[in-house]
Symmetry: C2
């Protein structure tokens, strides 16, 4: 049951709404939660939860369509940590939970039931194993659980903190400080100049992959300033006009990707060798060929360049720019 | 000396660049910092610092133009905490510092020198006591210092953390975790419908003040989704198209305000009584009159409604919308 304020009919044309992890339609009811909301949710027979373990989520493949939501009874055999479970919100009346599991799928003694696999978030999105709504809920859960594991002690006084209101905040009874989940804003920008766009290659990328430049927004910066600073640091290129395109929740660990176009004022690249292995301009025709799998071929007879996967906002920025003319 | 990537000539038309706290042009050199960068900066005779104490900054009024930057010698008498000082970046070659002070201006025994006052960030911006560039640097320092005071202990293991690289990160030697300054993204949206805009009044506002609705972006949300959820929660109104307008660093304590227009799909307001004292539609003519100080008069003979101050992005969203027709 979609939330009335997220009726998909009027967001169909929105770029942000087309991105992986952005389809979450739960009603979080953050303002209306009571102290015992998690206990109530755990006792609710309509509750369903994602099982999280080490950056992965359980997926049940036994019934054709991959399934990420389990009953609490089903999760029992995976050693659920109910005290660390987060109430994500409600699907209609039904509670939706993020349940950290005590199992370690990397342990050779850990045998998952036939047809159930623990799959990392990136692969779930890349293979569209879940629908948009559930993928968004999973991303919300991943972000919350990552934050909780890094906020167990009070940063101000060092005392242990306790979870409140089903996981939407933590409280330090020693210094009475409340802390809230952290979301780190990141700018990711397709830098363009006429019929060319600028892409960089991090040494961590798979072979041949080039993507849009990106970086964390720092304290005291606007979105536009961060685009200019990061681009200048990584490529030595100054940027004039910056235009916001779309945003995407990115659960690695709890990031908000803010996608922009930036208009370069110059072409000469002075690459930051510490961050990038390569940085170069691609023509629109070159990009179009790469998108069609007909990009330039290297000496091994393979296509030389690749784009980030469709789930990434960088892919969308590039595709939309290529198609804009 | 302005940073080459922030040449004001090509950002003059940008809304974000016109907002308070957004004019910071320091070169942060975050990627190039060495372990002893703070010590080197403190030993540099060209270093200048802002003196911070309890949400305020020292301003020297003795020479006509208010001055926020002090030499380290000048700051000596205010009990500077040099080990907690943050290296904000460089103005040309000159280090720029945020220096927390041991004095408490609320203590009656604390007498500041003639002509020196400790003034809160909001008043500094509202009265334009500093130039845009220095106001932006002050906002950066305020955000960093607020974060440091809330990150002294490791959230993962509870051990004390140490400052590294002049304050751009902290490190836990117990569990080897690095933490970075936190920036909380917030959406603030002027909701419009035809020739009307929607404003709300929080009980915390000064008498008569109405402003744009706002709220923190939560884990797993896009900017657009957060605009829709917050607007629906506070006013019961559903939003169609959302368009990004501008962003602003907001040092209370370390926020990034993301300003949007949102197109309402309906007019009936169902107010969240917990958050808002009032919420209502204003016509463009009504807003224009308020902007000109000719708004409607109450029974006490005073103008009834007021807008947020010019320093706030909400003011800019409203003014730009009023002038757009």
């Amino acid at each position: 049951m979609p939330r009335p304020f997220l009726d998909p009919n009027f967001i169909a044309e929105e770029t942000s709404a087309k991105l992986a992890f952005s389809g979450n339609r739960l009603d979080r009811l953050c303002e209306e939660r009571e102290a015992n909301c998690l206990e109530k949710a755990l006792a609710d027979r309509t509750a369903r939860g994602f099982g999280f373990t080490r950056g992965r989520v359980l997926i049940d493949f036994t019934n054709g369509t991959p399934r990420g939501l389990f009953t609490l009874d089903e999760l029992q055999k995976f050693r659920p940590k109910l005290d660390r479970t987060v109430l994500l919100g409600f699907d209609g009346e039904a509670p939706r939970l993020a349940v950290p599991l005590g199992i370690n799928p990397d342990d050779e003694n850990c045998v998952l039931p036939e047809g159930v696999k623990a799959i990392d978030y990136r692969s779930i999105a890349a293979q569209s194993l879940l629908g948009e709504n559930e993928m968004g809920q999973m991303a919300q859960g991943a972000a919350y659980l990552a934050w909780h594991s890094s906020a167990r002690f009070c940063g101000r006084c060092g005392a242990a903190t306790v979870v409140q209101d089903g996981g939407i905040k933590r409280y330090c009874s020693s210094c009475e400080r409340e802390t809230f989940p952290r979301t780190d804003p990141v700018v990711i920008m397709l830098i363009i100049r006429g019929d060319k766009c600028l892409l960089g290659r991090s040494p961590h990328f798979p072979p041949g992959v080039y993507s849009a430049l990106a970086g964390f927004i720092e304290a005291g910066e606007t979105i536009e300033t961060a685009v200019r600073r990061e681009t200048f640091e990584e490529s030595g290129i100054r940027i004039g006009k910056v235009s916001y395109q779309a945003s995407q929740p990115w659960p690695f660990p709890h990031t908000l990707m803010i996608g922009c176009l930036g208009e370069a004022l110059e072409e000469e690249i002075i690459k930051d060798d510490g961050e990038l292995e390569d940085c170069r301009w691609f023509s629109r025709d070159e990009m179009r060929a790469i998108l069609e799998g007909k990009g330039s071929i290297n000496s091994a007879g393979e296509q030389e360049f690749f784009l980030p996967p469709k789930m990434a906002i960088a892919n969308r920025l590039i595709v939309d720019w290529v198609k804009s003319k």
